[in-house]
């Protein structure tokens, strides 16, 4: 029983982190239909920035993530300009865009290797080695802090999308482009803003990733499958759906690790995705 409770708690902590990695993708892939396979690669860039500023100046990784987010926003907006000019305008987006981001992913990886080498990178902060003991469960701050930050970030993104004008415009861009144009909003600008926002979240997600464990340039590949699975499972662009999907995958992985063989965890998580897709293709909270 104790083991069970602990597994659930560990799964929720992990799931919240998965949500932080996926929330940006939920916007870019879920809302804007941009198959940004390089999304996890941007997360790794975020990790490296956290590592550089942490190891040089001792800055807190979370703080670094927040500070780097605006820069990531600008980079994201620029990438969207290129993407728009090359593909969306010509109606080539889905397939060519995919290949384009494959290329971007490789470029990011290699540039990281060229500049910083391939050694594993880690950050240090006083609280990372501490534990909070709640009696029946022990919670390592290494996972609790990312959990809190991830929840805050995901919540903020969700509030922003559902409460502000620009946020609603982003949701609208996915559903009814024409209506948006009639309202006098420029869909390209809105999408540019949204993609910038999506990339900005990776700065923070990257800082969280490097708090949890060591990072090297090609680590992002591990999260491609997970992040896309979570977005689809959550129903393409529904932020609450994405959060529930992330928690579900986290808890499933954790339970399988505790009780069956950890080796089967990916099969269970992705098996769940396959079944969901077969039964309800629009995901758990699909907009379709």
């Amino acid at each position: 029983m104790d083991l069970f409770v602990n597994a659930i708690v560990a799964g929720i902590l992990l799931g919240a982190f998965y949500a932080a990695v996926s929330v940006g993708l939920s916007i870019s892939f879920g809302q804007l239909d941009i198959v940004n396979i390089a999304h996890p690669a941007f997360v790794i860039v975020g990790s490296y920035i956290a590592w550089i500023l942490n190891s040089r100046y001792g800055l807190d990784p979370v703080l670094v993530g927040v500070l780097a987010a605006p820069i990531f926003f600008i980079v994201g907006a620029l990438i969207y300009r290129i993407y728009y000019a090359a593909f969306e305008r010509t109606g080539q987006e889905s397939l060519s865009g995919l290949a384009f981001f494959f290329g971007v992913m490789f470029i990011i990886e290699v540039v990281l290797i060229l500049v910083y080498g391939v050694d594993y990178r880690l950050v240090s902060a006083g609280y990372l080695s501490k534990n909070v003991d709640l009696g029946f469960v022990g919670l390592p701050l290494r996972l609790v802090v990312p959990f809190l930050v991830a929840s805050a970030m995901t919540g903020a993104v969700w509030l922003y999308l559902s409460r502000t004008f620009t946020g609603r415009a982003i949701l609208a861009v996915a559903q009814d482009r024409l209506a948006l144009q009639l309202m006098g909003a420029d869909p390209v600008r809105i999408k540019q803003f949204a993609f910038g926002l999506a990339i900005a979240t990776t700065a923070i997600a990257g800082a969280l990733l490097i708090m949890i464990g060591p990072v090297e340039p090609s680590l992002g590949r591990v999260y491609i499958g997970r992040a896309f699975a979570i977005v689809v499972l959550g129903g393409m662009g529904s932020i609450p759906g994405m959060v529930i999907a992330a928690l579900l995958i986290g808890v499933l992985e954790s339970l399988v690790s505790s009780f069956a063989g950890p080796s089967w965890a990916p099969a269970v998580a992705f098996g769940a995705l396959l079944i969901t897709l077969a039964v309800r293709p629009s995901g758990l909270f699909g907009r379709a």
Binding site: L3, N6, A10, G11, V118, L122, S129, G213, P214
Partner: protein, 419 residues
């Protein structure tokens, strides 16, 4: 007219060129054509950290040899390509090395996955094949010209964890139960299989025996499951990211095991040691070289000083205790064998390598029949008195005490693990 004049001019120019070239060639007395050593190395991809560190060590060796006037009077040159940690690239690279670049000698890339694909090609040409950290590759090929520098021992799979379980058996009261947990990959599964055998022959009861995927993010559910199984000894086989995750999770969960460690790759690297800090204390893990007085082989300190200088800013392991001395040594073995046989006759080289003892920066090297070390020198080292956030502490003795094998022992075990 014009034609004839330009023709004459060309002849003169050619003559001058030939003369100059002749002068260039004959300048260093009898400097023959360079001796080319070919290999593939993982310079990108998953194993690039090790591959790049190895390359730095190998380049130091080349510098040293050429300073001494080369081998057989010939300057040594490397021809190498990046295999990107993709086994599929390896056959192409070795056939290119042998058939197009016409290298004189080959040595291996780093790691089992990158060594095995080269074997059939090297075997067909009957070349001596010094290899770098492949685990039991030759069990399948039985090639009598394969020489492996990693000191795992003649039975690599079981020798790997023999010391760990012998140490466990010596404790009083003797621990009874064992948990074996391993990452899903070639090396870690083989290490776990060896551990299973050693546990059985040592009379231990295996209460937990599972594998986990390389892509795991959080290890606490695994550690809790081990804790629930009440294992006295926990044997972990893992690669760097998982090693860090396991150690952190074990400390966070407060694992009550009496011995913890085994075959964790990564705990040998300075960046990870620095980050884990005191969490490492009392962990008993394998290693191949540590700066303890018992392992102070001639030349190793000087080599490491040069490696550390060269490694700066390259993003590789800054201390380089684990792999680089061996990457230097596997070329030393080759060099000494060539000098002893006074030629490149591969049969003679292999015969010599089988019977000679080589003096290298990693100590005396002698090969068994299957090309592994004749006796295992897989060290079991215990982390001791590690302080937080300090990389320099690991460059000196006292932090990683050698417990096993007895011949190299530098201190006594601290038992149990969780104090």
């Amino acid at each position: 007219m014009v034609n004839r004049r330009s023709f004459a001019r060309a002849i003169i120019a050619a003559g001058a060129l030939a003369f100059a070239a002749g002068a260039l060639v004959s300048a260093p007395a009898h400097a023959a054509k360079p001796l080319k050593i070919g290999f593939s190395m993982a310079l990108t991809g998953g194993l690039a950290g090790a591959g790049k560190a190895a390359l730095i060590a190998m380049e130091i060796w080349r510098e040293d040899v050429n300073k001494k006037g080369g081998i057989l009077g010939r300057p040594v040159e490397f021809v190498y390509y990046d295999d990107a940690t993709q086994p599929a690239k390896v056959p192409g690279i070795y056939t290119k090395l042998l058939n197009v670049d016409k290298v004189d000698l080959v040595v291996s890339s780093y790691g089992t996955n990158e060594i095995a694909p080269a074997m059939p090609i090297v075997m067909r040409k009957k070349l001596v094949f010094p290899s770098l950290f492949g685990l039991a590759v030759n069990d399948e090929f039985n090639y009598d010209r394969y020489f492996q520098i990693m000191p795992a021992g003649p039975e690599p799979k079981t020798d790997w964890s023999k010391g760990f379980f012998e140490l466990a058996a010596e404790q009083n009261p003797k621990p009874k139960t064992v948990a074996i947990v391993s990452a899903d990959s070639e090396f870690t599964l083989n290490a776990a299989a060896g551990a299973r055998q050693n546990a059985k022959s040592g009379g231990f009861i295996i209460v937990y025996d599972k594998t986990y995927p390389m892509s795991t993010t959080d290890y606490s559910p695994i550690v809790r499951a081990i804790e629930a199984a009440n294992a006295d000894i926990v044997f972990v086989a893992s690669y760097p990211p998982q090693s860090v995750g396991m150690v952190k999770a074990a400390r966070e969960v407060g694992l009550k095991a009496k011995m913890f460690g085994g075959a964790m790759v990564g705990l040998q690297f300075a960046a990870i040691q620095k980050n884990l800090g005191p969490a490492l204390n009392n962990i008993i893990n394998y290693d191949f070289w540590v700066p303890e007085p018992t392992l102070n082989f001639p030349g190793v300190k000087e080599f490491l000083a040069r490696y550390q200088e060269a490694a700066k800013g390259k993003g590789v392991d800054p201390l380089g205790h684990y792999l680089p001395p061996y990457a230097y040594a596997y070329l030393q073995v080759l060099e000494q064998a060539i000098n002893a046989t006074k030629g490149l006759d591969q049969g003679k080289l292999a015969a010599h390598m089988h019977k000679a003892t080589f003096k290298t920066v990693v100590g005396d090297v002698k090969f068994a029949k299957n090309g592994e070390w004749a006796t295992s020198r897989t060290l079991q080292v215990q982390f001791r008195d590690v302080k937080p956030n300090d990389m320099a502490q690991f460059s000196g003795p006292g932090k990683r005490i050698v417990l096993y094998p007895k011949a190299w022992k530098s201190g006594d075990i601290v038992y149990p693990f969780n104090q």
